[in-house]
Structures are given as C-alpha cells and as structure tokens.
Symmetry: C2
Subunit: 485 residues, 2 copies
C-alpha cells in the first residue's frame, strides 16, 4: 500500500477543501451575523492540517492501484466530513456538541440531509449557507465517485456502466480520465444549479433561499433554510420546480453528458435508457398511489391540491431528497412507509440520489425471473441482457452481493439503535433514511434527529457513510484480505 502517496493526496484534499470555509465567511460579513470567525478558524485549521499531511510527503507520487482507490474514497468522505464539522464546533449560534457537529457535517456531505438543528429559521445566514454548500459539494463528489471511480473499482455491479452507458468512462485507466470526466460533469452540475436557482427565484423565493435550495435540490440533499422545509413557501409552482430538478438530478449524469455533447441537445439518449424509463415509471406509480389514498381520506381541499402534495412527496422521498411539506406527517402511516420503502430504490446510478439505485433493482428483477425460469427448465441456459449485451456472471454476483450487504448493514444498524433503547418505528425509519441518504424519518425523528442519543447518532453517521459509499467500498476495508500484501 502506497501510504505516503495516500497521505499526500489526503493533505491536498484538505487544503483544497479549506477554501469551502471562505464563501460562508463572506456571507457572514455580508449579513453581519457574527459567525464569520467560526469559518475563518475552520479555514486556518483545515489548511494547516492539510499542509502538515502534504508537506512531508510532497514528493511521493506513486502510481495507485485499485486497492488504494478504496482507501482514498473512504478517506475522502471521512476526512472531509470531519473537517466539515469544524465550523459547527466553533460556532456560538447554534451551540453544538462534537457529536452533533460531526452528525450535521456527515449528513450534509453525504447529501443525507438529516439534521440535529432545531430552529433553522433563526440560524445565522452563514451557517445556513454553509450547510447547503456542503450538500452541494457532496453531491458533486458523489457524481464523480459514481460515474468515474466506482465503475473502475467494480462496486456492486457498477462495472456495468463501464461498457454500457454512452458516457465519458470507457476504459479502466483511473487517473487521467477522472480529471477530464470530473470537469465535464462539473459544468453540467453548475449549469443545472444555476437554472434551478433562477427558477426558484422567479417563482418567488428570496435570492438567498433560491441559491440555498438550488444547492440542496441538485444534490438531492434535502436541507432547507426553514424548519417547515419546502412547506414554508406553500407554493405549488415552487414544488413543481423542485420536482422537475429532482428528477433531472436523479438521472445518470452520464446521460446528461451524452445528451449535451452530440451538438445540440439530444433527448433520444434518455428515451433509449432502460434505467431512466423505470425511474419515471416508479415516480408515476408512487404519485398515483399517494393521490388515490389521499383523495379517499380527504386530507386536502381539492384534487389539484392533493395532486400537488402527492407528486411532491412521492418524488421528494423516492428520489431520496427528503424535502417536506407541513402536512406529510398527518398522512395515513401506510404512505410514509411506502415512500420510505421506495427510497431503497432511489435514483439512477451516477446521479446524486441515494438508495440502492434503479439499475440494481432492474438487475435484481431480471436475475430473480431468471432463477424462476431455471427452476422450470433446469437444463436450459438463460442469459440476462441490458440493451443488447449479455451481463457477465461477475456483475450478476456483484448485484446479488450488494443487495445482501445492504440488507445486512440495515439489520445491524437497526438492532444497534434498538440496543440504545430507540423504539422500533424510529429505529426502522432513521436507519432507512440514513442508509438511503434520504434524511427525514418517522417516530421520534419525524421533524429532526436532535433528541436521539449520542450513540444512536454515531451509528446513523456510519450508516450514512455505508449508504453513500455503496456499502462495499467501506465494508471491504474491514476485511483482512484488504490489508494483506
């Protein structure tokens, strides 16, 4: 293992990441909200720490193999998540414990969007802006991870994308392609964010709210500047804008990349993609079920209002954004549970969404039906195809394995929470919400995670990481094989 090269890279990352502290510092000065010093301190500390890691190892530039790739990816999220907690630790308002600071930072960076802060509306603007900025950067990190790195590492069948998707990643060389790919994705990401912010602003949000919510929408993070979340604006137009941009962000960014580069904008790229079609179908079905049940129970005054809320919540939860409207918790429990289960599906691979990803669900269904065909015709040979190409056994095993590992992490985390005395509904829903990087949960954590114990918060923080790192990236580090030479 090339430890010194890895430490050098980690140091560089920290130095780079320290710049993140400067825009919130400017916001603090602009609004004169008194929290500027927290960000200046955080900037200095992270820059110094980064320098201390980088300087002694600055000449170590060994070539990295796949194995080191796992370690760097995990370090990327854990180190930045830890550094990211500094402003919360340093801030006077809100006055947060170390556990809460780490939880909030990891929740933001993994785009989970579970919060331990109560009273968002009265928070200093700099802190609000920083939370959204963290989500936005996390979202960018996820896309690079999912489009450029995980396919190379071969996590959970994602090597599939290497050959299949008409995207930017086609060969298995890691370093040169990543930079190039990241740059292209960055432009798309930035463009979508600007478009989303402009739309929110035209629809009546303040400039500050528009920017913050565009960050958390495109990152499918779900943070809001208000305790009431999107419900604060009480605007069907804003809800609809949010839905549209969530759906765009839940699509594989390789598709956006392919659609844009072919001179002009080529919509056919999307319509040819099976994962995109299933994503849209899932949203339509969920919206229809929510609409039907809500219409029966007469919670809203009109069919239009029912449709507005049904569509918004279905898309918000199932794409794992987790934005709320005021009335969500008065829905019959079946609907929140259905939507939480749907968050296990999540968005497409290579998007900012969480969950197991639509592509894996498609593969699980195809593999399951192959198993049944095999039972009926034990001697026949059945292949599984995506588009025109046959799936290798390696990918099939990886997808089954991913599903089982996901279930294992879910069960262990849920039992751990219950061992800390958390009730069943809260344990179930918070673990689902964190593992799927969804955010809001039910029971005790229905409005926020503030009242959970410290032990529970650390378990959930680790659960978020497992979800964001597609389980295996983190799990593989716990095996002896990984550390053997």
């Amino acid at each position: 293992m090339q430890y010194r090269t890895i430490i050098r890279i980690t140091g560089l990352l920290m130095g780079l990441f320290s710049i993140t502290m400067l825009p919130p510092a400017l916001v603090a000065i602009f609004y004169n909200d008194g929290e500027g010093m927290a960000f200046i301190k955080a900037f200095v500390v992270s820059l110094l720490l980064g320098f201390c890691l980088w300087y002694p190892n600055r000449y170590h530039k060994a070539d990295l193999r796949t194995r080191e790739g796992f370690l760097i990816v995990v370090l990327f999220w854990t180190v930045l998540g830890s550094i990211g907690s500094l402003p919360f630790i340093f801030a006077n308002n809100p006055d947060m414990s170390w556990t809460d600071s780490f939880f909030e930072s990891f929740s933001a960076l993994t785009t989970t969007g579970a919060t331990v802060i109560v009273g968002l509306d009265d928070l200093p603007k700099a802190i609000l802006f920083y939370r959204h900025l963290l989500q936005w950067l996390g979202g960018m990190g996820i896309i690079v991870l999912a489009v450029a790195i995980l396919p190379v590492l071969g996590i959970g069948g994602m090597q599939l994308y290497r050959a299949e998707i008409p995207g930017p990643v086609k060969d298995s060389k890691m370093t040169p392609r990543i930079a190039e790919t990241a740059k292209a994705l960055w432009y798309i990401y930035l463009f979508l964010t600007l478009a989303c912010a402009a739309a929110f602003w035209f629809a009546g949000m303040s400039a500050f709210d528009a920017i913050c919510h565009s960050f958390s929408t495109i990152a499918i993070g779900g943070f809001s500047t208000h305790d009431a979340s999107m419900g604060y604006f009480n605007s069907p137009v804003i809800n609809l804008i949010c839905v549209v941009f969530l759906l765009i962000s839940a699509i594989n960014f390789s598709l956006h990349f392919a659609a844009v580069t072919n001179k002009g904008f080529n919509l056919k790229v999307y319509l040819k993609d099976a994962e995109f079609k299933v994503l849209i179908a899932v949203q339509l079905i969920l919206t229809a079920i929510c609409f039907f049940v809500l219409f029966q129970t007469n919670i809203y005054d009109s069919a239009e209002e029912t449709l507005d809320h049904a569509l918004f919540q279905a898309v918000s939860v199932s794409t794992t954004a987790g934005f709320g409207t005021e009335s969500f918790h008065s829905w019959p429990l079946f609907l929140p549970m259905l939507l939480i289960f749907s968050s296990f599906i999540g968005g497409c691979g290579g998007s900012t969404a969480g969950g197991m990803k639509v592509i894996r669900i498609i593969l699980l269904v195809l593999q399951g039906s192959r198993e049944m065909k095999r039972l009926v015709h034990p001697r026949a040979v059945f292949t599984i195809k995506i588009g025109n190409s046959v799936l290798p056994d390696r990918v099939i095993d990886a997808v089954w394995g991913f599903f089982s590992a996901y279930a294992l992490v879910f069960i262990v985390s849920m039992l751990a929470l219950m061992a800390f005395g958390v009730d069943e509904l809260t344990a179930f829903s918070t673990v689902a919400a964190c593992l799927n990087n969804l955010g809001p949960a039910l029971g005790e954590a229905a409005s926020n995670y503030a009242t959970l114990g410290d032990g529970s918060k650390w378990v959930l923080l680790i659960t978020m990481l497992f979800g964001r790192l597609e389980v295996f990236t983190l799990l593989v580090l716990l095996t002896p094989t990984f550390w053997k030479n």
Copy 2:
C-alpha cells in the same frame, strides 16, 4: 402438464388426510367434550371430496416431471390446509369464522403456530388435540419436502443437499426414492415424538399435555394447550426438555438418518457438519446476549432463573418454535427484536424449523466474503467450498436469489398489512413471525392474532405459505413460463 394425474394424487391425499379427523373424534368421545360431530362431519366431507377428485381420474398415472412437482407441493399444502379448516368451521366451541378457521388450519399445518383463538385453557380437548396433530403432520410433511423433494426441485440452492449431506437422497429420480426416504424419516420422527412426550410426562405434565406439547415441539410448531404457553407449567425442567428437543428437531433430519443407520448411534456425523455447528453457535450467542441484558435489567430474581428464561426464549424463538413464557413481553424491546431477527436464520435445512435456514446464511456469508476478496483482487479466481467440494455457480445464484425473493415477500406483505391500517411494529413482527413460520409476534399480535382484520389474516396466511414453501415453490407458479408448454 399432467392435470388428471395431479387431480388423482390430490384426491388420494385428501382421502388419506380425512383419517386425521378420526383421532380427535375419539378424543372428543373420551373426554365427552361435545365436539365429536365436527370431526365426523369433516371426515365425511373430506373423504367424499377426495373420492370425487380421485374416481374419475383413477387410471391416470402418467410420469411426473419437475414442473408438476411444484404444483403438487403447492396443492398439498393449500388443499390440506383448506380441508384442515373444516373442523374449526363445523365446531360450536370455539365459534370461528371462515377466515379464522382457515388461518388456524394453515398456521397449524405450516407449523407457524400463530393462533386466533383466545381462551385455549377452556377449549374442548378434541379441538386442542387436533391443533397439535395438524402441526405434527405439518412437521412431518416439511421434512419429507425438505429432505426428499426440494433438493430435486432445486429450490434456493437446496440441490446442494443432493450431493453433500450423507443422507438418503442422492439421485434425482423422484418417485421411488420419496416413499423409501419418507418411511425412514417417519420412524425417526415418531421416535423423537415418543421420547419427548415421555420426558414431558415424567417432568410433571399431564399425559394429554405431554402428548400435545411433544407434537408441537418436534414439529417446531409452538402451539400450546394453554394461553400462557410453556409459562403455564413454570418449570425449568420442562423448559430444558423443550429446549433439547427443539434443538434436535432443528437439525437436518438427514443427519439423524445418517447417525442412526451406521450400526449404533454415531455422534461424529453431527460434529463433522458445518451447519450443525453454526446452529449451536447461534443459540449460544443469542442466549449469552439475552442473559447479559436481562441480568443487567434485574427482571428475574436470580442468575439461574435468568439463564432459564434466556436459554428457553433464545432457542424457542430462533429455532422458530415460538413457545412463550409469561414474562417475555416485559423484556426490553431490543431482545424480542433481536430474537425475531434471529428467526430469519431459523434452523437447519431438512429440519422442521422455519426461517431462511442456517445453511443459506452460511452460504450468504461465504459468498459475501468472496465478493469482497474479488474487489481487492479483481483478477483472481475464488471458489466457495462446503466441506471439500466446490459450490457450483448455479447454487450460488440460487441462494442469492432466495434471499432477495424472501426480502421481497417480506416487504410486500408488510406494506399490504400497513395498507390495511395495521401499525408498524405489528406489521413488521407478524410478517416476520409468519414468513419465518415462527408464530408469536409483537404489538397488537403480542398474545394472539384474534384482533387483526380479515384482510390482514389472509395476507399473513399467504405469507406463511411462502415461508413454508421456501418462497420459490409458490412464486414460480405465478410466472407465465411455468404455465407455458
């Protein structure tokens, strides 16, 4: 599909099964409890129905292929479950609805042991005896199914047993071997039941209770003649006898078969078996956790009493028997949840236990660790071994597929229950208890299932069947491929 042969066999089965009604009728006469007529009626109806199916098709004796095997297995459980409900429908005491009668019958025959009857202590003896008899017959059916039929059908990787276990089933011809195997297993099953009944009787149970509880112990069914279940006897000796016979019944009966036939009794057969060792390890770990937590919370007066209850409940729930002691529901919720999760593991394949079976958990763990080794060394080839032989890919796929299908049935059933308005804890625990053929649940169904709605009961009845038929046997019947020629 050889429909007329299948109908002939179903008719024969029904005729044979009608005999089941006679012993309870004798019990009714012996105790003069007034419910004899219900069983006479049920006997006549099932004999006649069976005759009507058999007579027109009595010359149809076509050879059956694998595909017809699935249909016969499913018919076996659904038809006998339906016929088995007749005495409950005909009885005056208890006065049960059709839904409740079907639920009780299917719950008994699948050895789930969930009950909708309140006031077991005051029930006519004939009804009590009949419930236990149904479980006992169900247990026998499961062993034949698991040892002789499922390996041939290749459900969920169980073809593994065909070559691996030193048991009676070694070739793939279905019909002749089944009868021979069934006879040998029957003797073992009968011997264990007699031994268990004698032990219970010596330990202080009435002869009636001893026989009834030996039936539900060996079948790992969990029915009792008392509302307080085993807690009624309040005897550490009886608890221990129950634990020992539950463990014996949770072992693959092929092992018992192999241990007995080698002239004398060969204990080494067990110690060489990986599945047996893991089963025992799981029980020890669960008992230790329960003991530790209970000892901390001071629910019982002494360490001995704590150990008695910890061991009994750990084994009772994790082998999927579901016998209770009075104090179980006063345990901290974490322990019941842990044990309910452990019931997903269940007993060994080829036993009367439910759950996913220890062997599949072993394979899932082996397969999962292979996935991680593959991530670290993408070019290396890793095989999975059980004992000395390498597992074929076909078995690996089947086990992954089994796990996913099990999870799917769990989620769909749970959502269906919640759609009927059942709360989260009840839905979660009843679906787990029925899918794993465990029986008792938590929440609303903590003592019995009586207060659940009819819709919920039918969902749970189907869930029991899915569990007992190892999901795929039933699922495959829902695919178009199965019915195509």
